[in-house]
Each structure stands twice: as C-alpha cells, then as structure tokens.
C-alpha cells in the first residue's frame, strides 16, 4: 500500500502542486489558475480543481482554456455522480436523488435525458416541488439554447407548479423571473420580481431583477426598441451563498459562519462575540479543519465530503460544501443538527453549477 504513496510520479505531482499553489497565491492569474487546476486533477482532487476553475471563470470570463478545462472536469465529475446516483435510485428511490440526477444531466446539457429522468421520477413522486423545480430549470436552459417557445411555456408551467407546492421556493421564482424577462409579458416578470423580493428580502438578485426590469420598463416606454434585460439565472451560486448567510445570521444559536474557497481564501463571514469560540484566527482554524476533513474522506476512499458535524459539549461545528465553497458554522448546543441538515440539504439540492 505504501508503494502507491511512494510512486515517484505521484510525489513529483504533489511537489509541483505545492509550488503552483504558492505561485497562485502570489499571482492568481489565468495561467496559474490553470496550472493549479490541472495538477489538482492529476492528483485526484477533481472537486478542488473545479473550485479553482469556478473562481477563474468569474475573474477571466473570456478565457477559452479555463472554460474548456472546467467543462471537461465537470463532465467527468457529473458522470461519476450520475453513475452513483443511478445505482442508489435503483436500490432505494429518493426524490432528492432524482432531482439531483435531473440537475446533473441538465448541467452537461443532456436535456432530453434530464426530462426523461424527471418524468420517470414524477411517476413515483408526483407532488414533489424539487422535481418540478428541476424540470423548470432544465426547460429554461433548453429554451436559452433553442429559443423554442414551447420549452419556455413548459418551463414557466413547471416553475409555477413548484411554487404552488412550496410557496416560499425562491429558486423557482428566480428562474421564473429570468424566464419571463426573456419571454414576456414584462408586467408578469415585474410581478415575479416583486414577489421574489417579498419572500427573499435579503436577495441581491431580487433587487437586481427589480431594478433592471423596472428600469427597462421605463426605458421601453420612452424607446420601444429597448431589448430584454441581460440578467439570467444561469450563474446564481453567489446568490445562494448570500441567502444562506442571511438565513444563518437570523439564528441566535449560530455564533459564526465562515464561507471560504477550498484553497482557504475567505469569501464571507460573520462573527457574533461569544464565550465558546475565539474570533482570533477563526478563519484560519476552520480552513485548516476543513482541509483535514477533506483529506480524511479522500484517503478513506469515501469520495467527496458533503457535510461534517463535530459535536462537543456545549457546542456544534458544522461543515458543508455549498456551491463549490466550504461553509462552516460554529453554533451553541441549541442549534440542532437536524436543522442544519435540512438547511444544507435544501441549498445543496438546489445547487448545480453550469
């Protein structure tokens, strides 16, 4: 077994990776992003590579190399997860797995397979808002590619059904607003944006939709040739993490929430002074813990880490992977593990990055 770790090629790759990461820290440009991502993929850390590339896509949206490598690695990652979920679905059908399968097929643009999978799952779970949302998102994305009016109509129908079953489903409203902004009528899009702002008051995306739509509406009165708003719901992972943080801020037992990239780089955090967790070096401490947990899961051969719950007396530490970022919650005992799992399940099921 130790021979595998002593493989010279493997050791060389780890060495090259540590050098590349150091260079990335100093100059996080396009070439260094690609170098780190390629080496992470070589040493078997595909999820880490994808996280670097996700950041790279935001900073260098015009880079075809980053887009291509991201698409290639994401396709491999999605294919592996699809295989595993299909096995689970055959042995024990769960609606969350079916919704995730639909989302994964959609993310690699297998729209027809996604729709077929959803139809099969809906035969078993006819009243699932998760499935309606997944179908709505799939049809919305197919509409963006094909501009087929029928897809747009069916997407709106599925998203409205998701909202009927789960009235506070903000994700369905995000997609519905984006869709209506494309297809019209604009008054319906504005109404959807207003409703989104009502049920998700912390959502910056809701504010942005509202501003763009009402701004565009006023502009279109003066100049009828004004086009539809440019914003779509395609890349809203940032929005999800904002919503998550906003929800966690409202829970009194939560002492701190730290969100960071897999390389340890901070994204956002909030900290309420408390007697259980020291603020000093907090981000560094939890980033190092997250790295240890990820490493253990990988070495143990149990795949990508989804969540971790560390229970103490009288506190909890929760870690979850949401939208390619690590979310760590430091909480008092009153914040139940089940509440954390429900919250994270909701965010994780709704999150599949294109």
């Amino acid at each position: 077994m130790f021979l595998a770790f002593l493989n010279p090629l493997r050791i060389a790759n780890y060495f090259r990776l540590s050098v590349a990461m150091e260079r990335y820290r100093k100059h996080p440009d396009q070439d260094e992003t690609l170098a780190v991502a390629r080496l992470l993929a070589k040493v078997g850390d595909r999820s880490g590579a994808l996280s670097y590339l996700r950041n790279g896509r935001k900073r260098f949206p015009a880079s075809p190399e980053i887009q291509q490598l991201y698409a290639k690695l994401w396709a491999q990652s999605a294919a592996a997860e699809i295989r595993s979920l299909e096995r689970g679905w055959r042995s024990q059908p769960r609606v969350e797995d079916a919704a995730r399968l639909v989302e994964l097929h959609r993310s690699v643009r297998n729209f027809d397979v996604a729709i077929r999978t959803a139809e099969e799952a809906e035969a078993k779970f006819p009243d699932s808002w998760l499935l309606k949302l997944a179908v709505g998102k799939t049809l919305y994305h197919r509409f963006l590619v094909s501009r087929n009016a029928e897809d747009g109509k069916r997407a709106a129908e599925a998203l409205r059904q998701a909202r009927t079953i789960k009235s506070d489903c903000s994700r369905a409203l995000v997609y519905l607003t984006a869709l209506l902004a494309e297809t019209g009528p604009r008054s319906d899009a504005i109404a959807a944006a207003e409703e989104l702002a009502r049920i998700a008051p912390h959502s910056t995306q809701a504010q942005s939709f509202r501003q763009k739509l009402t701004g565009a509406s006023a502009a279109s009165t003066a100049a009828p040739e004004a086009g539809p708003p440019a914003q779509t719901a395609a890349d809203s992972d940032e929005e999800l993490t904002s919503l998550l943080l906003a929800e966690l801020r409202q829970i009194p037992e939560v002492c701190a929430t730290i969100i960071f990239h897999p390389d340890g780089g901070p994204v956002r955090q909030h900290f309420v002074p408390n007697e259980l967790f020291a603020a000093e070096n907090c981000q560094q401490a939890v980033a190092s813990l997250a790295a240890g947990l990820h490493g253990a899961a990988e070495r143990m051969g149990i795949g990508r880490l989804n969540t971790c719950v560390v229970e103490g007396d009288p506190w909890w530490i929760y870690l979850a992977e949401v939208a390619g970022k690590s979310v760590v919650i430091l909480a008092r005992k009153g914040f139940k593990s089940s509440a954390f799992e429900r919250l994270m399940n909701r965010f994780m099921t709704e999150t599949v990055t294109l």
């Binding site: 259980l276 070096n281 907090c282 149990i302 795949g303 430091l330």
Partner: protein
C-alpha cells in the same frame, strides 16, 4: 471487545468498527475485507489531530463528543469514550437515527467491560 464490534457491524449500513486510543493506536478492530486496520487508524488519528488543533485554536471549552463525516460514498463516525474512541465506518445510505441506539449501546458495553 471484538465481539461487541462484530455485533455492531451487523446493523444495517455499518461496514466496520474499531476502537483506537487518542494517539491512533488500535485497541480492537472488526473491519470489513476492504478496510485495512492500520490505514483506518492512521486516517482517523490524523482526523482527530485536525479537530483538536481547530478546537485549541478556537479556544473552545468543553470536550469533543463525536464527529460524523458524511461523504458521497460513505460515512465515518467517531465517538469519544473517555480514554479511547469508537470509530464506525458506514455506507453512504446508513440511517444515522436508527444507528445511534446500537452505537450508544456498543459504547456502553465497551465502557462497562473496561470497568469490569
């Protein structure tokens, strides 16, 4: 102790279990054929080091009770038993609510056995 672990392994979703000291020395193990005792002990030991270092950096009072890692293809659970840890390796679909009772029972039996 091995019998207690083997009995625990009969529960649905549990692939193997072991008892280790805080510094990673294996006390007893009943792991499946695809799990190497030394390897699991080394991984859990490094996991414990990570958790403890974090708790020390955060100056967190009180003691560690348990840790549950939920990964895509499996779960690792470990529970403090005073001067050792019970480590349980589970399948990804293990029902934690249902497994807690037999795990707690195994911890109780191991502790009692030690006292006896």
């Amino acid at each position: 102790m091995k019998e207690i672990l083997q009995a625990l392994n009969q529960e649905v979703g549990i692939k193997g279990s072991m008892v280790i000291t805080p510094d990673g020395i294996m006390v007893s193990a009943a792991l499946g054929p695809d799990l190497e005792e030394d390897r699991v002990a080394a991984i859990v030991s490094s996991l414990l080091v990570s958790v403890r270092r974090c708790l020390s950096d955060l100056q967190t009072p009180g003691k560690l009770v348990s840790c549950i890692l939920n990964a895509h293809q499996g779960k690792i659970l470990f529970f403090d038993m005073g001067n050792s840890f019970l480590v349980v390796v589970g399948q990804s679909d293990i029902k934690l609510d249902a497994s807690v009772v037999p795990i707690r029972s195994a911890i109780h039996r191991i502790k009692n056995r030690r006292v006896a």
